[in-house]
């Protein structure tokens, strides 16, 4: 089957005679609709999982960019001086994009879970925290630690990246898993539509023989099947996507609590991603059926 413009136009425009000439394929039709629908539904969840873990990976990745903190443990009167000295050191360390001391309010917020909101920071020898944002190349942790030991005796370097990096890569893996599953699903739809189209073609061998006998061309016969299966995959996956998106949307969001689980939904333009599924499924069905039909028609005489 050649795939030129004319064929494509005929395919889109349809031909009510050609459509009638192939019998309604009953259960195969329902099967195709159902398979596309069910798979699209599952794909929506896979995409939701993927986008959610993508967001998580991004957020954690951002936090990872602020890879490290420095704690200045020093007597009250020394604290400000040592903090400035540390900032000085950091500003001359290669690989550090930005460094700043946390304000009192920020420290209070960090410590609140342990000491309550009413922590009297000034009466406590709470260490001052400096947040370090590394460049993409990162900095030499050991080198910095040595310099600090020499120049700022009260500074302790804490390399958060150590334990956050695996989490970020885990989130990235989960995103990858989501996309893989979504891709697998599209592949499965392709395989299933091909098989269903083949089953329909095989079941309609007599119809094809009759059409051949009265002088129908291959593309005439093929288009009747291709149009049908494409339409079914399109409609089926559209319904599946709508139901899937509704299900994701209706899923209780767990209030304002932060965290991974509550984020399993779409955000912003993310809601548009599932809308790609029906055209993708339809396109996949188009080519799968065209391939199946051209092969089947070549073997039947």
């Amino acid at each position: 089957m050649k795939f030129d413009l004319k064929t494509l136009r005929a395919l889109v425009a349809g031909d009510r005679y050609a459509d009638r000439v192939v019998p309604p394929t009953g259960f195969t039709a329902q099967l195709t609709l159902f398979v596309s629908g069910a798979m699209a539904f599952l794909a929506v969840f896979a995409l939701a999982l993927s986008l959610a873990s993508g967001r998580l990976a991004d957020r954690w990745g951002d936090e990872l960019a602020r890879t490290a903190t420095i704690r200045i443990v020093a007597p009250e009167d020394q604290r400000a001086i040592q903090t400035n000295a540390a900032l000085q050191v950091l500003s001359t360390t290669p690989g550090i994009a930005d460094a700043r001391a946390l304000t009192d309010e920020e420290q209070q917020a960090l410590l609140a879970p342990w000491f309550g909101q009413d922590l009297p920071l000034d009466t406590l020898p709470v260490p001052r925290l400096i947040e370090i944002e590394a460049t993409d190349q990162g900095f030499d942790v050991t080198g910095l630690r040595l310099r600090l030991a020499a120049e700022v005796p009260g500074a302790v370097l804490d390399d958060h990246g150590r334990w956050r990096a695996p989490l970020v890569s885990a989130a990235q893996r989960l995103r990858l898993l989501g996309w893989t599953v979504a891709l697998l699903i599209v592949g499965a739809v392709a395989a299933m539509v091909t098989l269903a189209a083949n089953a329909a073609l095989a079941a309609n061998a007599q119809v094809i023989a009759v059409l051949r006998l009265v002088g129908a061309t291959d593309s005439y016969i093929a288009n009747a099947f291709v149009r049908r299966f494409t339409l079914r995959a399109l409609v089926g996956s559209a319904v599946g996507v709508v139901v899937g998106v509704l299900a994701v949307w209706l899923m209780p969001s767990g209030g304002d609590t932060p965290g991974f689980l509550t984020g399993l939904g779409f955000q912003g333009v993310g809601w548009l991603v599932p809308l790609l599924l029906p055209p993708v499924c339809g396109g996949v069905a188009l080519f799968a059926t065209a391939y199946a039909a051209s092969r089947a028609l070549r073997t039947l005489t």
């Binding site: 005679y17 002088g215 061309t217 593309s219």
Partner: protein
């Protein structure tokens, strides 16, 4: 029209047909006969490109079948009306649509031939069955519908395989008359049949040649019929 030149055919085993040369001139009327399993259907299939000869040349409308593209074969079939021995229809369309099918697939609207269709259905005695579905037809009705389908495009050539196997004598005479009339309009007709009385009846109406397959060859049968 259709020309077979030293054609041989085998389904894989021994040769079924050997060294056959037949020429169906425009406007000629042929019968093809021979015992069951002799190869009548096979020869007919060679004549409309459903089978390719294993040796020799088949020329349809002056073109060698081997040189025809798939779409060319489809176009050839629009000029050749075929009645299959095991008659097949689209079971989901009523008889009238099935009879008009050659018009539909060639892009001509069935409507333009509406008068023809009604007349044709009347001729084969299916007027009151035209809305029936093919599985609801009796054996003889199926054969008549198939003949109507074969001639609706008024093709240049009509190839009919046992078109009267399931109908009674009166109806077979009627169908024969239809084919004779088409022949008189200049169409080429070839009928494969084992019914010698049909051949005898035809000889009274038209100048028909009788080909007989025996021993893998085609012979012109003489006055012995």
């Amino acid at each position: 029209m259709i020309e077979l030149e030293n054609v041989a055919y085998s389904y894989g085993g021994g040769e079924l047909l050997s060294d056959i040369s037949v020429k169906l001139a425009p406007g000629s009327f042929h019968f093809l006969t021979g015992p069951s399993g002799a190869g009548k259907t096979t020869l007919l299939k060679l004549c409309y490109g459903a089978l390719l000869p294993t040796a020799g040349h088949v020329r349809l409308f002056d073109r060698d079948v081997r040189s025809l593209q798939r779409d060319d074969i489809a176009k050839v079939r629009r000029r050749v009306g075929v009645v299959h021995q095991d008659v097949q229809f689209l079971d989901h369309l009523p008889v009238s649509d099935n009879v008009a099918l050659p018009l539909t697939v060639s892009g001509r609207q069935a409507e333009t031939a509406n008068g023809d269709l009604t007349e044709l259905l009347a001729w084969v005695g299916l007027t009151n069955r035209s809305d029936a579905m093919p599985p609801e037809l009796s054996g003889g009705e199926r054969q008549r519908a198939a003949l109507a389908r074969a001639v609706i495009m008024s093709p240049d050539v009509v190839l009919a395989d046992e078109p009267t196997g399931n109908v009674d004598w009166d109806m077979s005479q009627r169908l024969l008359t239809l084919l004779v009339e088409l022949n008189k309009m200049g169409k080429t007709v070839l009928i494969a049949t084992h019914d010698l009385s049909l051949i005898r009846a035809a000889k009274a109406q038209v100048q028909a040649r009788v080909l007989r397959i025996s021993n893998r060859r085609v012979q012109l049968a003489g006055a012995d019929l």
